[in-house]
């Protein structure tokens, strides 16, 4: 399943217009760039090799961050006794409608049904209760890379699928302050991943009471603004309610020799990050993948021509490939000798490879190659001696351009407005972030539903004196947007 063209979906249609048909454009890119395919199971996708290689690059970076901050990976069971889910009231209320339930196994009806994990707080807290006996056992800092299942009525590839892949961190601490520090530390790591690797500017802060995770005291979120003006929650970090510690009887002997309940956190980021980068960086030619996480950073297209034998052209391409690989770059040669260069350019642009390198008979005779920047389309003739330096510099430039461009686009769509009446129309028609004041009442927040919008996160600024809806004082600013 290399770069050969496969047929699925509606094969002959061309790439929809990103400005007028964003949703169609998105689906086309996901399927035609071979990131994913439809699966024969409701709401599920198959992640194809190109999409999975992208996920592996993201995982590599995030896994290192998780380990460098003192966490250890482990694995907990996929199937969880149904009774575990019901131990924490808010948690089961939030997840009950989404559960997939195993009722039969080994040819028999089970005495107690097992749910396929929608998230693993319950089973991990059960284990924490076995493992945590003394303050010496704390902090306990565990992470799990796993698949989870939440039955979705309306799925979209990578953004909302019945099964998805993620990491979920779960930690226990002696004090509330330590738990807060942990939740914020991981939020900071996520922001770094988003901004400095995925090249996606994000806004981060607390969720409102009604938007927080089922079972959390506090949820921190980081959100991007997609090109169609909708917000995307890219991941969350929670301070878990003390009710969990009580429900699962996670007790330890504290430094004073008496019994305490630990303070818990959890935090997760998912394959949705792939959706975020598609919708942030894509353009009228398709996907653009930030160089730092691109499975293929440079695609080499040998330009076959009758003036030189194909194997000689390929040999030169391989020489260039070896040179660049040595310097740590991720590179591929498109060896297909049947498609035209134009058809190949189209396909690799669609797949968002940040840099293209052409090498044909004339280039070989001149000892040069031609680079093309995926964002600008600008071409540059580079001598073999300068290959490495140019490639590294140009990839750095592309990484920076992607972030700057996304930041500029976001700035154009980030508005400060005093009253909902001032921005309701724009919110509905154009999307965007609306930074405004809020009294933090549920009543005022609920009004946003009429505009298919929600509070995305509280931010630590205070620009406005009163609430966007009522005349009560604003507590802090809040970002309002329509969201995925």
């Amino acid at each position: 399943m290399s770069e050969k063209k496969k047929t699925f979906g509606s094969p002959s249609s061309s790439l929809p217009n990103i400005k007028t048909d964003f949703s169609e454009w998105y689906n086309y890119v996901v399927y035609k760039a071979e990131l994913a395919d439809h699966a024969p199971v409701r709401g599920c996708i198959v992640i194809k090799p190109y999409g999975y290689a992208l996920w592996e690059e993201i995982k590599k970076i995030l896994d290192k961050k998780i380990k460098d901050t003192g966490h250890e990976n482990a694995q907990f069971p996929l199937l969880i006794p149904e009774a575990f889910l019901t131990k924490e009231a808010d948690h089961i209320e939030g997840f009950a409608p989404e559960l997939a339930v195993v009722t039969h196994a080994g040819g028999k009806k089970l005495d107690e049904p097992l749910v396929v994990r929608p998230t693993s707080e319950t089973i991990i807290h059960y284990m924490f209760a076995q493992w945590i006996k003394s303050w010496r056992d704390l902090p306990m800092k565990i992470n799990q890379w796993a698949n989870v299942v939440r039955w979705e009525m309306r799925s979209r590839p990578f953004l909302r699928t019945t099964e998805f892949w993620w990491q979920e961190g779960h930690t226990a601490h002696e004090t509330a302050d330590e738990a807060l520090l942990e939740a914020k530390t991981m939020l900071t790591e996520y922001i770094d991943l988003a901004q400095n690797y995925l090249a996606i500017p994000v806004v981060a802060g607390k969720k409102s009471e009604s938007e927080k995770f089922s079972g959390a005291d506090t949820t921190f979120t980081f959100e991007g603004l997609m090109q169609d003006g909708k917000a995307l929650q890219m991941g969350t970090s929670h301070i878990i309610s003390q009710q969990f510690a009580h429900a699962f009887e996670i007790k330890f002997q504290n430094r004073q020799g008496t019994e305490s309940y630990p303070f818990l956190t959890s935090w997760g980021a998912t394959t949705r990050l792939i959706g975020a980068l598609i919708m942030t960086h894509g353009d009228e030619k398709g996907l653009i993948i930030p160089p730092k996480i691109a499975p293929c950073q440079i695609i080499i297209i040998p330009i076959f021509h009758k003036s030189m034998a194909n194997h000689e052209i390929l040999a030169a391409a391989e020489k260039v490939e070896d040179l660049l690989k040595e310097s740590g770059l991720r590179i591929k040669i498109d060896r297909d000798s049947e498609s035209s260069p134009g058809a190949k350019f189209y396909q690799w642009e669609l797949k968002g490879v940040p840099l293209r390198l052409e090498i044909g008979p004339r280039d070989i005779n001149e000892a040069v190659v031609i680079f093309t920047n995926r964002i600008t389309g600008a071409k540059k003739k580079v001598a073999w001696g300068d290959l490495k330096d140019f490639a590294h510099e140009e990839l750095d430039t592309i990484q920076k351009m992607l972030f700057d461009r996304a930041l500029k686009k976001r700035a154009e769509k980030w508005h400060k407005r005093e009253k909902l009446t001032d921005f309701a129309k724009d919110l509905e028609e154009k999307g965007g972030f609306y930074q405004t004041g809020w009294c933090q009442s549920r009543e005022c927040e609920a009004i946003l539903k009429e505009h298919k919008a929600s509070t995305r996160c509280l931010i630590e600024e205070k620009t406005f004196d009163t609430c966007f809806n009522c005349n009560a004082p604003s507590v802090t600013d809040v970002i309002v947007a329509r969201a995925y």
Copy 2:
């Protein structure tokens, strides 16, 4: 969940005798060395951080092998429509008794039940049928790292668990010869992993008709001989029956322009490999992990003593740690200042860290450290200037010693015997590999059940003229053993 001692299972009992209580010894090591813990779900385990780090090292090596041989990773759904499983008669017959079935989801009864994947041939072949249209799409070489569920009546940690973790490769080829080459190539990679990384000598060959995978034409296996004399199947590589290609209608236009069905393979290795290395290398002190895959290759034990401040001793330990880390080794310092050195030695020996490094006030003054070899217990005083070289050489030596020792143990238990009547008693009482002749009839093979034994694999030697049971001619030699 660092190296602190946790209490679970029966905490106060000491390590059972490996020679007389192998099974108890195994469980003790699994739980007390913190590789895994019991899970509150039938037949399931939790893989604890130390065990998971070991699995990550194994994965890293195997994943590289899989990619270097031209395969790409992808992800397919966990839940498979029940009807898919029944498309291939042998396959469903083999797996039906082990399936876990989701009958309800999203608060409703499903129209069609979904099974939790016991293996992914069916769903991957369904996708292959979408993707493979022409001979140009072949070979298709996909791998998936995944969890699978098979309902087990009698589980043992790592060896046989309801949920386990593995990689499953699935490929499609134009010709039968190519499929055979693929299955053998991956078998060879597995053998290399087993022998040159896990330090486990294996015997490899075809399975008998009755022992092969449900739905395979041919199953290749590689098997180790554990210290208790029982064989362990460590992984398999299959040529999948053409019935699968027909059942899922995987058709392609061949080079002649007519329609063909591709030849399929699948191959997998699981977390059972961890069980294999425990049972191959362990001794009366616990686990021994081969250096090439040890999550911690050297444990540094600072020897605290009133003659020098703890922080000074730690500083010296850290200097040594940095020096060795720089040279690419995986190292930890046991910073616990409460337990005695003896208690720490015991714990790290149990956990099988191949090399121990002690550093105390006297060593610091002399600018030396003391190394202890986990296998031999031999101590060696090494000057700081020679640290790196010694550590690398000693770890290489330990890797080699483990393999040689395992090979020697296996040789002692590998017997060539002509007739079952000659070896039935030894087989039952002492275990071991019995290489013998076989007519390849099911009747003679079935006799072995009476001795709780089975054919493990056919080998390409012919030592005996007649079958171990009847007087018909032997086709090839076969390994007979009791097995996990």
